[in-house]
């Protein structure tokens, strides 16, 4: 009797153990380590205000990394982040300058621009079968070109709408930043999408083997198209939040987000070859990258030193747990 009762419990336990990803655990371990190192340096490193501030900064990267993760799960990559972020920000700010209607439509309009660019990426990858690395680079160049023509090469004068500022800089009563709540909502939606819908299953299937997914009746090309559109939408949305944070859009405001987004996803244990990874890891990766950047700036290390340490730390962490098994 007793053993029969234990059976499902043990199975349950094994299931939990199987879900437990060593990469994610290591990433969280590194976060704790970074916090410890930081607290040795400055005592208010562990204060709630500082941590909430960090999470707020992390939200912008988190939203971009969410879209990036979906694309990486497909075994593709989205290198168009820099100028999709900027396009989203600039177009939203431009819309916001057209009276009340513009103010209301600013956020949807910016996202729509991101979706359009994402659809172009997706079309090139899914239907024209061009490697994503080159398509997204090309679309990035086109977005840059469009924005340079639009702005005349200067930062536009338009300012962010009230809603954008509200989302990016406001806080609720408990002191929790709105940006963090936005990230949480985006995260929950994407986790739902990835784990509870046909779309999510298909994303993992395509990442593992697109041929097999196709033969199993998945409309692989449409899924890839949609995934890139989602990534574009999230990048543009993050751009709007960033514009709200700084209260205006700027040239090359998105440049600083491409590499951290990829690094965050990969540090979170998502395989760059696709098909493996979960959102918890991406959260860990985003917080890890944000804390690392913050600590390096708190320690008042010059820009060059930050770049050097940043690169070395990413490589070191990947060597710790990101290694592939031998192909044979």
């Amino acid at each position: 009797m007793a053993t029969e009762n234990l059976q499902p419990v043990r199975a349950r336990f094994q299931q939990i153990l199987r879900r437990f990803d060593p990469a994610v655990a290591t990433a969280f371990g590194c976060i704790v380590l970074l916090l410890l190192v930081g607290s040795l340096y400055s005592s208010n490193f562990l204060s709630p205000e500082y941590l909430l501030q960090q999470l707020k900064v992390a939200s912008f990267l988190g939203i971009i990394a969410t879209g990036m993760m979906v694309v990486i799960l497909l075994g593709q990559i989205d290198l168009s982040v820099p100028w999709v972020v900027t396009t989203g920000a600039m177009m939203a700010c431009a819309a916001a300058s057209y009276g009340t209607a513009g103010q209301i439509l600013a956020i949807p309009f910016g996202i729509l621009c991101g979706v359009a660019l994402g659809l172009m990426n997706g079309f090139g990858v899914a239907y024209l079968r061009i490697p994503s690395m080159i398509v997204t680079l090309a679309i990035n160049a086109v977005a840059q070109g469009l924005m340079v023509v639009y702005t005349g090469g200067f930062s536009p004068r338009d300012t962010a709408s009230g809603a954008m500022r509200f989302l990016a800089t406001g806080t609720t009563i408990a002191g929790i930043p709105h940006a963090l709540i936005v990230w949480a909502i985006v995260g929950i939606l994407v986790v739902f999408l990835l784990s509870r819908t046909v779309f999510g299953r298909a994303v993992y299937a395509i990442g593992n083997r697109e041929r097999a997914a196709y033969l199993s009746g998945v409309a692989t090309q449409r899924i890839v198209l949609l995934a890139f559109a989602l990534s574009g939408a999230l990048s543009a949305f993050a751009g709007e939040l960033l514009a709200g944070y700084a209260s205006k859009a700027a040239q090359s405001m998105g440049d600083a987000y491409l590499l951290p987004a990829i690094a965050a996803v990969v540090l979170g244990g998502t395989s760059i070859l696709g098909g493996r990874g979960n959102y918890l890891g991406t959260i860990a990766g985003v917080i890890l990258i944000t804390l690392l950047q913050s600590i390096l700036s708190v320690m008042q290390i010059a820009e060059f030193g930050r770049q050097i340490i940043y690169g070395i730390v990413i490589i070191a962490m990947l060597l710790l747990y990101g290694r592939e098994r031998l192909a044979r």
Partner: protein, 328 residues
Amino acid sequence: MTDWRYRLAQQRGTLTALAIFLVMFTIYVSNHPAGFTPNVVQTAANKGVLLALVAMAQTFVVVTAGIDLSVGMIFILASCVASYVVVGSPWQSATGVALVILTGLACGLVNGLIVVFGRLQPIVVTIATGATYFGLALWLRPNPGSTPEFNSDLADAFTGKLLGLYPASLVALAVLVLVVWIPWRRSVVGRAAYAVGSSEVAAYMSGVPIRRARLVAYILSGAFASIGGLFLTFFTYSGEASLANGNTYTLFSIAAVVLGGVSLFGGSGSAIGAIFGALAFRTIGDLLFVFDLDPLWQPLFQGVVLVLAVSLGAARLFQVRNRLDLFN
């Protein structure tokens, strides 16, 4: 010689790149106010050679089915190093040039070691190492400039005209192809690099030295990127740690490689194709100036051309007989 058909098919990418270049250059020269003079050719060559060198650097790695996103940063770092060490007497300058190339070799070696022995994905590795190399460049040259003793005679010799007619930079490029590319292509490691790019497992089974092939490819890539950086300093007489410049060259090097018929999936293509791809890409960028259009439109124009060029790759879709072949 009944196999000419196969030989021709093998060189199709290179020949297409050559054809694109010739057409573009003819349009360029015939609309240039000065016409086809040694000076026009020299200016065009000097601009094109920089990209051609970086594109060659990219080719070595792409052939092994890898990607090097740090070429632009090695290029910038080498240029910053060159602005310090290429000074004084011929003997000193020669040592300086050697130092610059050694820098590139070292950067390539680091990339190669991490990719080969760390078993990490090249795209992530080179993103991270690229950040580190850029940090080093920023450390060397926080502000653009050069040492007063910079050997401008040497620089002029490499950017001027040989025998008053032939652009010296093009001659140097040709010498590099003859002395490095062709011997490498015919050596064991060169063939092995192509084998690894075609199928790593098959290459391993055939006893091909896959590790050595990869390592040498990354080292040569670093070396060529640094020679590119050396030429950049020869043209500008100074070094500048410009992030935008580094990113642009990385992006353009991939574009040039694709235009030059080198497959991003590895195993096919030639650096000679990549050179013509680079020259064609540069010429396209300059077409705007010849037609006297607003330079503001240049980024958009280049982006659109890039999209069209990579869309050419979709032509293979017409040859697909089995829909399954779409999903490799």
